[in-house]
Symmetry: D2
Subunit: 206 residues, 4 copies
């Protein structure tokens, strides 16, 4: 059994990654809100802080010997988590390159990647009207390749976020907080299902 999804204390350990490097990022605030709201649903979110350190993907460095230390750290963090929460802005109708680059490293090797069968919840906030719709579609497309179990509904798409966060980029809008909480509840259930499925699959394959 996957120990991350309910150890002796029954808590679920999840890694949270924000796609924006900006200090005052709304999406960082969104991830903090998710961290807070997930607790009641048994999920403890550890926020990943080293996205900036990950070098650009280079297949020549993607070997046991050459792999940069921040990549090892990222892959271990993903492996050790029962799921991921991704909070990301939309850049050019897609995922920020810096976030995609982290997935490029974590997705190797295709069979045996820590992303395989990993439950993933996706959320995003934008100052405009779209709420990161296109970014989330783009991310879901990538997750087909890695065979990652992205939660479908409810989607957390937050438009006009400047009205919903305070001056410290903390999420204060109650209806948005309720939606984030609802997604975290669904995510907790989703993680349990996927883990049972993986356990069953192991049993079948013996």
């Amino acid at each position: 059994m996957n120990e991350n999804a309910g150890g002796s204390n029954g808590r679920i350990h999840v890694l949270g990654i924000c796609g924006s490097l900006r200090a005052g990022s709304y999406n960082k605030g969104l991830l903090r809100a998710a961290q807070e709201l997930a607790r009641d649903h048994g999920i403890d979110i550890e926020i990943y802080e080293r996205l900036r350190d990950i070098p650009p993907y280079d297949a020549d460095q993607d070997t046991d010997d050459a792999m940069p230390e921040p990549v090892r750290h990222l892959k271990a963090a993903v492996s050790g988590a029962a799921g991921l929460v991704i909070a990301t802005p939309e850049y050019n109708y897609s995922v920020p390159g810096v976030l995609k680059n982290a997935f490029d490293w974590a997705s190797r090797p295709a069979k045996g990647s820590p992303l395989n069968r990993k439950p993933i919840a996706i959320m995003g906030a934008s100052t405009g009207m779209s709420g990161t719709i296109r970014s989330q579609l783009a991310l879901r497309q990538s997750l087909i390749f890695t065979d990652s179990f992205a939660l479908l509904q409810p989607e957390v798409l937050i438009p006009r976020c400047a009205d919903r966060f305070d001056a410290n980029s903390n999420l204060v809008d109650e209806s948005t907080r309720a939606l984030v909480g609802k997604q975290m509840a669904a995510f907790a259930a989703w993680i349990r299902v996927v883990n049972e499925a993986s356990d069953a699959a192991v049993g079948v394959q013996q």
Copy 2:
């Protein structure tokens, strides 16, 4: 008139960017082939060599004062070219994060980006069967935002590229070379049309 698309010598200056950092990259070889084959169509491709130097996009650094030097260099190179040729692999059913990160920088500000109305040709090679189909779709989605004029047809999607390149990653397959040449011919015509259109638009707006 856009001087890059036919100066005194009538040649078209284009910037070529490869999405892979691997030394022996097939897509680098593909870009070299495009460079060679484009000449007969009046296009001189300068290959961009500093993708690795571009730091991860951080909106806090996206100011006149804080902008990193490699980003300034990239934006100037894009501005100074009459068009772009992108040769890129597919990572996780999308564009490599490192390439997307370069577009994230170059796309700012949304109005006034050097990518606006820029003609762009897209090509890609994969060892598998898909020929980078999904990567090219993903890139096209981003180029809607930047109002960039991506050439539609012919598409250059090269599957099973290991059979078409030699040991030095040079493109040797004749039918593939013919396709690349055909795209470069279409691209030269496309650049001329777009530039005339932009000139006309300037006339209209006076």
Copy 3:
């Protein structure tokens, strides 16, 4: 020269297709607004009324002899227009099947389809917040195959349309009307560019 894009009277003849069959469709109202607002930019939009009549695409009927009459009519209407305006809702994060089915017929044969190099403007209205973002992305993906010249910017994405249309589904919101007018102005310029390009291409190929 393409006579549809400026005959003796210099007017541009365009075919408008709505993706919704609902009598009181907001997107029908949006298309009527485009028709009205396009006139000042030299575009006369004829609204296509027979979408419902087009049978489901069946390759066995896609022959000179078997082709259903409504399909012949559609293809002739597309051929005879200098461009298309598509106003469509979003169903299931994509284009309505009924609209896609019309494109499926019109796109044959791949080389020689009336959609090849056809300028196309896309707009859409939704009662929710997305403004048909995903539907427009999906349509643009299809138009790559047909080598159709979809206008990029400005996009007309109309969220919460119930507030912008009157009880007869006429577009009354002034800022939205201004956006539609702006797109029609850009579309008129785009059609002229594409036609000149096609004329030039013909010249080159002689």
Copy 4:
């Protein structure tokens, strides 16, 4: 408990839908192969034969009183199945309009659609090199809206299908048959997981 996924005999009842209406369709042959190969994995596929009868979606007819009989039949067939297998060609880099139209009807109402939480396996064959890659991406995008549990891996993407099917459009290529069988095995496991999840969710919500 969902009776379709293991009644008294433990068999799983699944509905198979082909996106092509052509009599000699390769994708119909692919669906027949899936039907045959699924049996060993406990899945009985009933092939849906009335796609042609479904009228174009019209919201004015989407009421209890006005709903066309073929639509009632389709929705009942989807409801009564423990999962769907979709075998579809690619038209214009997307799903055939006729297939999308069926999903448009089946997806209403958004909450309470028979597609909600429905396990779905996707496969496709093309005469060209792409193997319906883009069509499958497009279908997956639609299934996010309906909260349908599309199986991720293995994908069944069959390029150059003319070499793999016989003159009666029966799938004869052994490696392709093995891939289809592998997907059906994964699908059987996936259906069981999803059903247990749904049962658990019902328990939680009481």
